[in-house]
Amino acid sequence: MATENKSRHPKLRIIPRLDIKGGNLVKGIHLEGLRVLGEPSRFARHYYEEGADELLYIDIVASLYGRNSLLDIIERTAREVFIPITVGGGLRSIDDIGNALRAGADKIAINTAAVLRPEFIREASQKFGASTIVLSIEAMKLPDGTYEAYTDNGREKTGFDACQWAVRGVELGAGEVLITSVDREGTGLGFDLELSRRIAESVPVPVIAGGGAASVEHVKEAALCAHVQAVAVASMLHYPFVRRSNESDGLSNSLENRFERTATISSKFRDIGLSTLKRQLAEDGILCRQVPVAEAVLQ
């Protein structure tokens, strides 16, 4: 019995995704129509304490430098959050990557710079190690059922087939692939399982699926039907956290209230915290790391 338990390894990593703009955590739909949700390090700390397996920071306006820039936020987060941090958005040179690692990033997600010059993946991988380089692909479904890779938050076509691009990127040295469905992103309709499965079957390295998660069921599907190794989740965690924080703060004219007046989308995202999500996954046989909440802060 004990031996049997030992040989089971965790099947799924849950990675809160934090989209950053102007020093704030933001969230949109289809990577557009952004709303400000709050101060990112508050969310980061909360997710760390709740048992997040990693964090993913994406700067959606690619502002690497200066006050309240992405690197500034990473620097602060890395002092209080001791899990892997992946950083993406606007990193275009070896120096940019070096600076992000120095600020506290563990891995770097590359999209546009790799599309513009695929050899950049090889150079970055040789310099920093394959495990540091995550190929980020934003994909949209075409009428013929294939998927095209996009850049700039789903605005610019690349002409690349998403699966072929994933394969090529891994051959060039990417150690992981983050596949985001632009069609599903922010909608709460669940992951694009077909897209995620095709990518996961195409490459030998771990795949992170993103875009669309709103429930435990969605996350389960990603593991069981798409066979990905990790999921990036945002709205599903952010909205309940904003709601709960506002309740405990007793704010009447809070961000969430303003938000509720202008949108109904957040009601899709049921009130489930990260620790509950992971416990339910484990109960359904998808082993993931569990963290007793009280122990998450070093005494």
Partner: protein, 224 residues
């Protein structure tokens, strides 16, 4: 708190990998560190941490050419703690077969070899092995006075740590293995110890509170 007669712990910088988060983890437990590429500073430090992400061949060439290999051996010979992490753990071994054949630091007897086609009930597993996995202590119940202390003493059996690797160490002496980890049907050595030298395949600085406890244990050992 400054350990070891006011001397900081050297974080060995040989141009590969992310040293900064190792420094931040030390800072979080009050351990004074200095990131250095100077063999002299390594020799004079209270202890050394050898981190690293990347290729074995490049790493050992740089360590040898810079005199850091020699400095690390002298540090170990003088009885001070050396802590190897991930690639830094693999570098402690006698040799590696990663992309060719390379001699290592030979501080712990053993080899480094590729994660060999791991699979589970559902089929082949992804390589690199990325993510959290559990460490199972070898002989965890042998708590006698003669049992040597290790950085794993504060860590519960079966605790989760964060791994990112395609290669594994195979110590030639079983008694140097402190913990093992299972990835599908492959069981590999996830922590090893020889005298004052400790190494682990996972990243304690990225393994949450449990990982930080290992740095705190290093700080405690330097105060004794």
């Amino acid at each position: 708190m400054t350990a070891g007669n006011g001397r900081p712990v050297a974080i060995v910088d040989y141009g590969l990998g992310n040293l900064h988060n190792v420094g931040r983890a030390c800072e979080a437990v009050g351990l004074a560190t200095k990131i250095t590429s100077s063999p002299e500073e390594v020799r004079c430090s209270a202890a050394a941490i050898l981190p690293g992400v990347g290729a074995f061949g490049d790493a050992i060439s740089t360590l040898n050419a810079s005199g850091l290999s020699q400095a690390l051996r002298e540090l170990v010979d003088s009885g001070k703690p050396l802590f190897g992490i991930c690639l830094g753990f693999q570098l402690l071994m006698t040799e590696s077969s990663e992309f060719g054949h390379h001699r290592g630091l030979d501080i712990i007897a053993g080899t480094v070899t590729g994660l060999n086609a791991p699979r589970d009930d559902e089929g082949p597993l992804k390589v690199p092995h990325v993510g959290w996995n559990r460490i199972w202590k070898t002989n965890p119940y042998a708590m006698s006075d003669s049992r040597p202390q290790t950085l794993l003493d504060p860590i519960a059996d079966g605790e989760y740590m964060y791994f990112v690797h395609s290669f594994v160490v195979v110590p030639s002496q079983a008694n140097t293995i402190v913990s093992t980890t299972h990835y599908g049907d492959v069981e590999f050595c996830s922590s090893a110890r020889r005298g004052n030298v400790f190494g682990c395949q996972y990243h304690p600085e990225r393994s949450g509170v449990e990982g930080l406890k290992m740095y705190a244990q290093l700080a405690r050992s330097l105060q004794q």
